[in-house]
Amino acid sequence: MENILEVQQVSKTFSKSKFSLENVSFNLPYGAIMGFVGENGAGKTTMIGCILNTIKKDSGKIKLFGKEMFDADTAMREKIGVVYDGNNFPTNWTARQLAGIMAGFYTQWDNALFLKYIENFKLPTNQKIKHYSRGMTMKLAIAVALSHHPQLLILDEATSGLDPIVRDEMLDVFLDFIQEENHSVLLSSHITSDLEKIADYITFVHNGKLIATVSKNELIYNYAIMRCKESQFLTLDTSDILAYRKRDFQIDVLVSDVKNAQRKYKNVVIDHVSVDEIFLMLVKGERI
């Protein structure tokens, strides 16, 4: 499968904050949505900054559409739509003024499409952005990101702070966008329930390190948590244990092959769990 985005062994250290992104690698195929999950400060925004060249990586390679993107590669940026968390645009502009400015940036700017999104999102065109609610601001940013016919959407915490109804609307827009087979979405978020709804792949990062990139189906159907007593835990095959966490009277064990676990450990309770719980186990659980 061809990838729209390839991140290979990317590292970045900030000397002032001592934060490091360490050898992060993942691929986003064409036609897929990837959730980029991590707690606040895990390195999601840094990684997106490296992808978009707003931050200079120390080492590693990032390929977009099969090529590394440099500052001069403006044609490549025509194919990318970006949404950051919060106010992306000067707040004393109106949506109409913003459209006029964006038309000057993108050769493929489609004003009719922009107005269609604005109408669908019920956004006032002549009201200053500073009078928009947070949900409206994010809808406007998404409308802008989609109105120049991009192939790749990169969203950095674009759904955080939005109410469930607006979030759901946004997720529908992303699903609609992905109907074209050469379109992809990279969506960083710490709201894993959103990703469970739409993502094809989920990449977990923690403290600047990549924990795993797993397809959502694999997470849902193959990952599970075994609720073990201590005596049961001691009998487990260590190669089956991805991570474990001690609770009061039990030990939760994350496994990546539920069928194998069900076959091998018949007396142990095994639960299919949410992405949130899997993420917590991967981050907070101990490894053998």
Binding site: G49, L52, N53, T54, I55, K56, D71, A72, T74, A75, R77, E78, I80, V82, Y84, G86, N87, N88, F89, P90, T91, N92, W93, Q97, G100, I101, M102, A103, G104, F105, Y106, T107, I154
Partner: protein, 203 residues
């Protein structure tokens, strides 16, 4: 570049239109009352004022995500800097034309209010030079130090610009030529300097 020009124009216009109203009222006063000191203030405030508004408006953009967002648009960092310098030139020209037209109008209605013709010419040179000195200092400073120091660096750059201009203005021979040449040279040097700072800047 078209998008950058439009963006810069909108950013400046929000404040410039308020300043323009003030300057129009000032222009009425200057046209009615033929007073040399008033004319001097009018020219200085008009030219330097428009360029200060241009500089601050652009500086303010850094305090928003828009500064970072612009880097994801199909423009080069060099183009962003170039558009800022052209924007500074544009608003200095706007200020010069505006004050020039009003001064000309005042001359037609009330007669010449300056002691010598060279005096008014020198004043225009001084005001334009201060604008270029200010822009040359302010723009790279903002890129170097960040958006949270816009006000202090505006004051510093304006103070430096006035000091340099005043110092050069007192040179008896070729004063005007020296001051405008120095201002343009510093402005020209500031451009590649800002590019090199911005190329290293991370958002």
């Amino acid at each position: 570049m078209k998008g950058l020009f439009r963006n810069n124009f909108f950013a400046v216009w929000i404040n410039a239109k308020v300043f323009l109203i003030f300057m129009l009222l000032f222009a009425i006063v200057v046209t009615i009352i033929p007073e040399q000191t008033l004319q001097m203030y009018f020219i200085m405030i008009g030219i330097v004022g428009f360029s200060v508004i241009a500089a601050t408006a652009i500086g303010n953009e850094f305090s928003l995500k828009w500064g970072k967002y612009k880097l994801t648009l199909p423009v080069k960092r060099t183009d962003i800097v170039r558009s800022l310098f052209l924007n500074q030139i544009f608003w200095t020209i706007v200020g010069t034309l505006f004050t020039g037209i009003v001064t000309g109008l005042s001359y037609m209605i009330q007669g010449f209010s300056f002691d010598q013709f060279s005096g008014i010419f020198s004043l225009f040179i001084l005001a334009v030079s201060i604008s270029f000195f200010m822009g040359a200092i302010f723009i790279p400073m903002i890129y170097l130090t960040g958006e949270d120091k816009i006000v202090v660096f505006l004051i510093i750059s304006l103070f430096c610009a006035v000091s340099i201009a005043a110092m050069l203005f007192n040179i008896p021979l070729f004063g005007n030529a020296i001051i405008i040449t120095c201002a343009l040279m510093l402005f020209a040097v500031s451009y590649p300097l800002t590019i090199s700072i911005f190329k290293r800047k991370e958002f």
